[in-house]
Amino acid sequence: MSKTQVRQEVAAWHPGQIWQPPTKAQRWYDGAFRRLCLVFAAFTIVLIAWLALGIAYRAIPAFQQYGLNFIYSTTWDPNKAQYGVLPEIWGTLYTSLLALIVGSAFGVAAAIFLSEGFLGEAVFKGLKAFNLQFHPLWRKLPDRLEQILKNLIELLAAVPSVVYGLWGLFVIIPLIRPVCNWLHEQFGWFPLFSTTLSGPGVLPAAFVLSIMILPTITAISRDALVSVPPKLRMAAYGLGATRWETILGVLLPTASRGIFGGMVLGFGRALGETMALAMLVGNANRLTVSLFSPANTLAALLANTFPEASAKEIPVLMYAALILLAISLVVNIFGAFVLEKAVGKGEAK
C-alpha cells in the first residue's frame, strides 16, 4: 500500500484532516485539558492535607494541655478532665489485627479457590456424569458459577455497616456465647480467654470485621494469583510437583506481594470501621488481651462522643481523630506502596 493510498484510506474513515499536524486551537485544547486534569488530581491531595490540617488545628488546645500523655494514659473521665486513648488505640489495633488474621485466612483461601478453577472442575465433573459437559446450554455453567461466587464475595462490600452490626448483635453473639464461655471455663488461665463473654466484646467485633474486609482481600489476592505467569505453573507441574505443591510453593510466593498489599488495604479498612464496631465492641475503656472482654476503638469513641460533646471535649476528640487519621494513613500508604511494588515486579517478569 502506497502512502497516498493510506492517506485516502484514513481520510475515508476520518472525515477530519487527521493526518495534518495539530492546529493551534487543538494544541491549546490539549494543554488546557491536561492542566485541568492536573488541577483535579492536585485537588484530592490538597483535600487530604486540608482535612489533616483542619483537624490538627482544632486539636491544638488538647495537644497543649495533654501532650503525649494523651497517647499512653488509660483514663477517659470527662468529669475529672482526664483524657487518654491508650485503650482505644490498643482496641483499634487489636480488633483490626484479629480481623486481619481471620479475614486473610478466608480471603486468600477463597481467592485460590476462585482463581484455580476448583469450582469449575467440580461442576464440569458433575456435568460429565450426566454427559452434559458439551451441551450448548450447560457447558457455560462452570464459568458462570465462578463468576457468581466472585460477585457474591464482592457484594459483601456493599452491605451497609449498620446491617453487619445488627447481625452481629442478634445472630453472632448468641451463637458464639456458649462456645466462648466453655472456653473460659476450661482454659480461663490462658490470657486470651480470661473473661466471660456476656455480650459485645473483642471477638464478635473482630469476627464481623473480618467478614467486612474479606472482599478487599479476596479481590486483590485473586487478581494477584491470576496474574502469575502461566509458564511458572506449567514449569512446576513439569517438574513433577503436585497441585498443592504448586499452589503453596510457587503460586502463593509469586503472588505474595499482591496478597500482602490486599491485606494491608483490608487492615486499613478495618481500622476506620465505625458503626458496626460501635455496636459490637462494647465501648468500655479497658486495656485487655482477653478476646471476650468488651473494649473500645478510636472510631467508636468518636462516633459515640461527638454528637453531644461539650466545647471542652471537642479539641480532645479532634486529637483522637488525628491519631486515628495518622494510623490509617500510615497503613494505607504502606499498603499502596507494597501493592505498587508487587505490580511492578509482576510486569517485569
Binding site: T75, W76, D77, P78, N79, K80, V162, L169, F170, I173, P174, T196, S198, G199, P200, G201, A278, M279, G282, N283, A284, N285, P294, A300, A303, N304, T305, P307, E308, A309, S310
Partner: protein, 339 residues
C-alpha cells in the same frame, strides 16, 4: 433509626398539611431541635396540632439535648428541647431572655433480663453497688436479702450503660450521686461518666437490644422502651424506704413531692414521698422571651397551650408522665411571658 424514620414521615405529613391549608391564613413555620427522649411524644403533639391549625407547620429534629441547646443559642431554631434544662451562664448569653417550660416528664427504669425473676427488688445500696462495680453477682447478699423467694442465678451481673453522651445518663448519675456520697466522688454526675463496669451500648435502642440478647444483664433505659419491649423492670427502694414499681401513679407521686421553683427548673434527684418512684425527670422546652414575628410568638403560645392541655392526655400511652395540675398552671402562667 426508627425515630428518624418517624420524624421523616411526620415531616412529609406536615408538608402535606401545610400545602392543603396554604390559602386559609398567614402560614407560620416553626423550627425546633433537641432532646431525643421526649421526641416521640413531641412529634405526636406537633402532628395533631398541625391537623387542628393547618397554617402552622412545626418541624422538630431530635438531635440530642446538647445540640438542641447549641442551636438555640445560635438562633438557628425557634425553640429547643433539653433533658438537662439549660445552664444559667448559657441562659445569660441569649439576648432578650430565655423561658424554660417543663412540658412532660419520664421515668428511668432499671430493666434486666432475668426472665425467672419478674419482680426483682433492689435496695438503694444494691443498685448503687451494681452500677459502681461493688456488687458483681446476682446472688450477692445485698440482692438476695430483699428477694427471698426469687431464684437468683449465681451468674455475674452484666451491667449495660450508655456509650454515648446522654441526658438520660445525666439524670441517672444525678440520682445515684444523691443516694451515695461515694458514687458522687468516684464517678460523679455527667452525660458520659467514666463507668467502672460493664459494656456500653449506644442510645436507648442499643441498651434495649443488649438487654434482649444478653442473659443476666441490667441497664437503665427510659420507661417507654422497657414498656414497648416488655422487658422486666426492677422495683426500686425510695428514700422513704419503700419499694416502688415504675408506674404512672408512682411517677406522678414523685412529681408531686417536688416544689416547682419560679424558674421552672426542678431537679428531683431523690424524692421524699413514700410512694414516689426514685428516678423521674422533667424535660424542658426552651423558648426566647421575645420573637421578631408576632405571628410566630402567637403560634408558639398556642402550641404550648395544646401541649399542656390535649398533649398531656397523650403522654401516658407513650410511656411519659402527665404533669401535675399545679405545675401545668405555673407553666401556663410562665408561657404568657413569650411575646
Amino acid at each position: 433509626m426508627a425515630k428518624y424514620c418517624i420524624s421523616i414521615v411526620f415531616m412529609f405529613a406536615l408538608i402535606t398539611f401545610g400545602a392543603c391549608g396554604g390559602g386559609t391564613g398567614e402560614s407560620v413555620k416553626l423550627q425546633g431541635a433537641g432532646a431525643s427522649f421526649p421526641a416521640p411524644l413531641y412529634l405526636k403533639w406537633f402532628k395533631s396540632f398541625s391537623a387542628a391549625q393547618p397554617n402552622v407547620q412545626v418541624d422538630y429534629q431530635s438531635v440530642g439535648s446538647g445540640s438542641g441547646v447549641k442551636s438555640f443559642m445560635d438562633h438557628t431554631v425557634d425553640f429547643a428541647a433539653s433533658d438537662a434544662a439549660m445552664k444559667p451562664e448559657d441562659m445569660a448569653k441569649v439576648k432578650g431572655g430565655v423561658q424554660l417550660l417543663p412540658m412532660t416528664a419520664g421515668s428511668i427504669v432499671l430493666a434486666h433480663s432475668l426472665k425467672d425473676v419478674p419482680n426483682l427488688k433492689l435496695s438503694r445500696e444494691a443498685y448503687v453497688g451494681i452500677f459502681s462495680g461493688k456488687i458483681t453477682t446476682w446472688n450477692d447478699p445485698a440482692i438476695a436479702s430483699v428477694n427471698p423467694d426469687a431464684k437468683l442465678p449465681s451468674a455475674p451481673i452484666n451491667v449495660i450503660v450508655r456509650a454515648d453522651s446522654s441526658g438520660t445518663t445525666f439524670v441517672f448519675t444525678k440520682h445515684l450521686s444523691a443516694v451515695s456520697k461515694e458514687f458522687e466522688q468516684g464517678i460523679g454526675v455527667h452525660n458520659m461518666p467514666n463507668w467502672p463496669v460493664g459494656t456500653r451500648s449506644k442510645g436507648n435502642e442499643g441498651i434495649t437490644a443488649s438487654l434482649l440478647t444478653t442473659p443476666g444483664s441490667i441497664g437503665y433505659i427510659e420507661y417507654g422502651y422497657a414498656h414497648s419491649q416488655k422487658l422486666p423492670v426492677a422495683t426500686l427502694q425510695n428514700k422513704a424506704g419503700n419499694y416502688v414499681a415504675p408506674t404512672t401513679a408512682s411517677a406522678v407521686a414523685t412529681l408531686a413531692s417536688a416544689e416547682m421553683p419560679p424558674n421552672l427548673i426542678a431537679w428531683i434527684s431523690d424524692p421524699e414521698g413514700k410512694d414516689a418512684y426514685p428516678i423521674v425527670t422533667y424535660t424542658w422546652m426552651l423558648f426566647y422571651k421575645q420573637y421578631d414575628s408576632k405571628a410566630k410568638a402567637k403560634a408558639l403560645r398556642s402550641l404550648i397551650d395544646y401541649g399542656l392541655t390535649e398533649g398531656q392526655k397523650e403522654s401516658e400511652a407513650l410511656g411519659y408522665v402527665p404533669l401535675p395540675p399545679d405545675v401545668v398552671t405555673k407553666v401556663k402562667a410562665a408561657a404568657e411571658s413569650i411575646s
